[in-house]
């Protein structure tokens, strides 16, 4: 594998992607939509239909981004994340996960995010938006769909109980504003324009929210996760 560490120009570099989904037709559809490498810069290097397959394919190919379905035979997307933990936190060329799900259930979505996925998009996403999301995740950024933004606002909004960790268990006013605009369907660029901040700043807010989501002690999150045996 090439060991170039520059991630600044993803369009020139291209992104190597593994598709994990138990529906073959869906995999074929996504591959057809994003796999035209010359146009999109995305190269699909592997596919998997269940957890065991996924773990071995990911280990063998070391892709930049894994498009991960939430519901999978053998333990679901969370199990894939758990078993690829060392790849997720590899110091160089970490494997990033982007959850791509049809599920509406908050606990499914929050579960994979807490498991370490860098973002969550629904399967109704258009091909070009998906390519955008893939490159954003490949660059270490977070990707929030409007629905995920809504879930996160919901989870952090109900604050009857005192937060365990003040810094983590609370969203700043700015982070809330950013999330709210994303939930309303604004693109990052539009969010920046609306709040008079740069796209980079929007990205850093979103990343901060993702970090809080993954590390937070919020009891709702923990309850969601434990109820489904996710942690």
């Amino acid at each position: 594998m090439n060991g170039t560490g520059t991630r600044d120009l993803p369009e020139e570099r291209g992104a190597r992607v593994v598709l994990v989904d138990d529906h073959r037709m869906f995999r074929a559809g996504v591959r057809a939509e994003i796999g035209r490498t010359e146009e999109t810069g995305v190269e699909v290097v592997g596919e998997a239909g269940d957890v065991d397959q996924a773990v071995s394919v990911i280990k063998a190919t070391r892709p930049d981004v894994v498009l991960l379905d939430v519901h999978l035979p053998g333990g679901g997307g969370v199990e894939v994340l758990r078993r690829s933990a060392e790849l997720l936190s590899a110091p160089e060329r970490p494997v990033r996960f982007l959850a791509l799900s049809v599920s509406d259930a908050a606990e499914d979505v929050i579960g994979v995010i807490r498991g370490g996925a860098r973002g969550y998009v629904t399967k109704t996403i258009t091909g070009s938006d998906l390519v955008d999301a893939i490159f954003r995740v490949a660059d270490g950024d977070a990707v929030f769909s409007p629905r995920l933004a809504g879930f996160v606002l919901d989870a952090f909004a109900s604050s009857e109980a005192a937060p365990v960790d003040e810094d983590l268990d609370r969203l700043t006013q700015r982070e809330r504003e950013v999330l709210r605009l994303i939930a309303r369907g604004y693109a990052y660029k539009e969010v920046g324009k609306e709040l008079f901040i740069s796209v980079k700043t929007v990205e850093s807010h979103v990343s901060a929210v993702l970090r809080k989501l993954q590390l937070s002690n919020r009891h709702e999150l923990t309850r969601w996760a434990t109820a489904r045996r996710l942690v």
Binding site: D104, T126, G150, R184, G185
Partner: protein, 425 residues
């Protein structure tokens, strides 16, 4: 002593609901200790030691063991996954269980014997020995019941057919012998005692029969309840299949018929998707009591319903994100009407560039709804005065009810309607 412990205890872990089963693998007597060890994730030796210690405590261990043996069903043998022992080791081990069982029976007999001699109230020899014989016979019968059940599961590939029968018979003979001795062994000393004697004998015979038939009855009852859960599961599956059949196949047929009109196809597919989605994910999402269908729906539910209605009517996808929820009141109903109007406008004039997005948030007393499309947009100031749609049914309605509306439209970038309302007390 307790070195070879097959991993049968790990198997129940995979069962959805962890239930206590006795283990047929590596058991000494009834598999109670083995099963409990697996259930509690403790070494078997610990459990056995506890039972030994409890035996010393006035024979409590024997009693407990008997109760567990009686009540707890034998676990289904899921040994295909967990049988790591190699062939040579296995052959050696094959001899050991018999020794162990003998040992366990000896311990049991000793415990019963010691118990018999130590019991405070006097038991004459005429009672003790029949009782012991009955106990051993009952143990054999109960064990045999387990074995026949196991054979029933494991497709019964046993080398000898008469051995289990013989064991059952031996157990039965022992019980009968015990009961017989009990009945006959009483000395008919006085005529006045004859009535109580008959009574005792009758009780003894009834107990003996119960001991003989008990295990089979208990197993039958357990089998029945198992079968019932299976039937419920099958029923659930049938319900899912029926639902998918009814709605999904129906929709697919309609889509085939309307293949020339993409709008109709999209409408059908969206409606079906929403329906199936609600059916699949709603029960998990709802946490409160949802039995009362007549109860007025909350804001989030109403927004979703309104969006679904508009979506069906105009064939344009609408994505709804709701944060928080609150009960509907009069003002919010007005806001919902305004939102509906905005959605209809977005569906009519919005472009095909992405879905209409609806966002509803309850934050404290403030309820905020935004409806956004990616259509061509328009200049709000350039709308002729006679066009009442936006001005009256959205802005005016909000103002009349104490809220505010803001229409933001940039030509070429779409339109967003923001509705803000304070909740009434």
């Amino acid at each position: 002593m307790t070195t070879a412990t097959p991993a049968a205890g790990a198997a129940p872990d995979e069962a959805p609901a962890r239930k206590l089963y006795r283990s047929a693998e590596g058991r000494w007597l009834g598999g109670v200790a083995q099963g409990m060890a697996g259930h509690l994730a403790l070494p078997v030796s610990w459990v056995r030691i506890v039972f030994f210690v409890l035996i010393l405590a006035n024979g409590l261990g024997v009693l407990l063991y008997a109760i567990f043996w009686f009540v707890v069903p034998l676990g289904a043998p899921r040994t295909t996954a967990a049988a790591p022992a190699g062939p040579p080791l296995r052959r050696r081990l094959l001899r050991r269980p018999h020794k162990r069982r003998l040992f366990a029976f000896l311990v049991l007999a000793c415990a019963l014997g010691v118990l018999g001699t130590n019991v405070q109230f006097p038991i004459s020899g005429g009672y003790l020995w029949p009782l012991l014989i009955i106990g051993v016979g009952a143990a054999v019968v109960w064990r045999q019941a387990d074995n026949s059940r196991r054979a029933h599961w494991a497709a019964a590939t046993r080398d000898s057919r008469w051995l289990p029968l013989l064991r059952s018979a031996a157990g039965a003979v022992l019980v009968c012998l015990g009961v017989g001795t009990f009945v006959i062994g009483q000395h008919p000393a006085e005529a006045t005692q004859s009535l109580s004697l008959v009574f005792q004998a009758a009780v003894a015979v009834v107990v003996g029969i119960a001991l003989l038939a008990g295990p089979y009855l208990v197993r039958i009852v357990q089998d029945l309840s198992e079968e019932r859960t299976m039937r419920i599961r099958a029923q659930e599956r049938a319900e899912v299949a029926a639902h998918i059949h009814d709605s999904v196949l129906h929709t697919l047929t309609l889509i085939q018929r309307n293949a020339e009109s993409p709008r109709e196809v999209a409408r059908l597919a969206r409606a079906q998707e929403r329906d199936l989605r609600a059916w699949l994910y709603k029960p998990a999402e709802r946490s409160g009591p949802t039995e009362e269908e007549d109860k007025p729906a909350g804001l989030a539910e109403s927004v979703r319903a309104t969006a679904a209605e508009v979506e069906d009517h105009h064939g344009v996808p609408i994505e709804v994100v709701c944060v928080g929820d609150c009960p509907l009141d009069e003002r919010l109903a007005a806001q919902l009407q305004a939102a509906r109007e905005a959605m209809v406008n977005a569906a009519k004039y919005g472009d095909e560039r992405g879905p209409v997005r609806v966002f509803a948030e309850v934050e404290g007393r403030t309820v905020f709804v935004s409806v956004r499309d990616r259509g061509p947009g328009f200049d709000p100031d350039a709308v002729p005065a006679d066009r009442m749609g936006v001005r009256e049914s959205i802005v005016g309605r909000m103002r009349r009810n104490g809220g505010s509306a803001r229409v933001r439209s940039i030509p070429g970038e779409g339109t967003e309607v923001e509705l803000t309302m304070e909740r009434a007390e």
